[in-house]
Symmetry: C2
């Protein structure tokens, strides 16, 4: 087990089916990197919270967390809520290195993959 | 100009920056298929609505609309709201053929692209 963890942070919803694509991504990542702790965390409606997920991976020995916002777009959740949550985690776990990646909607290769998929779906 | 239109349907938000990735996808699609009408539409907070976008492309001669939900996950918007909206559009424009694609979170190739991007971001 490495000392690295990946936390995938998603919005959450009341409908349990909502989490399915995020579960699939988590499983694909875990299969590709079996030595890394890969966890899901949610803003609302679903558990664990981001704080709980960070505490869990820290308790299991993580020293470095890469936090990936699985949000398509920039809004209040990413601009206001996420920096506050990241600040709390840094206070609670000062030994942890916490890196926050861009959101999926800020990644040109993801947008291109979506464009390509729409072109195939619409032809 | 073909008689086909693509409408990209997204959630919408109060923050104007929220629409940026969807604008990029729209522009990439329009560049790839200049003969097709490619429009954005929003569930909430932003305009046009899906009904207004459908009326616009129909007025410009579209006979076939491919409606692409740019939602990561299945929840109330896709399960309840979208079928109602699609039904309304079919009533208002009986001459139109309206095809609704899966959501981006239901496309295995999009989930794989996200997984691959996380692996690169987290290494």
């Amino acid at each position: 087990m490495s000392d690295q963890a990946i936390i995938l942070f998603a919005h959450g919803a009341r409908d349990p089916e909502w989490a399915v694509p995020f579960d699939i991504i988590q499983k694909q990542l875990q299969a590709a990197r079996p030595e890394v702790q890969v966890e899901l965390a949610f803003q609302d409606f679903m558990t664990p919270t981001l704080e709980a997920a960070a505490a869990r991976v820290a308790a299991r020995g993580a020293r470095r967390i890469v936090l990936v916002p699985l949000f398509m777009a920039q809004g209040g959740h990413l601009k206001q809520d996420l920096p506050l949550l990241a600040g709390k985690i840094r206070e609670q776990h000062p030994q942890l290195e916490l890196q926050v990646t861009p959101a999926i909607g800020d990644a040109p290769e993801i947008l291109q993959a979506i464009t390509d998929w729409v072109l195939r779906s619409a032809s």
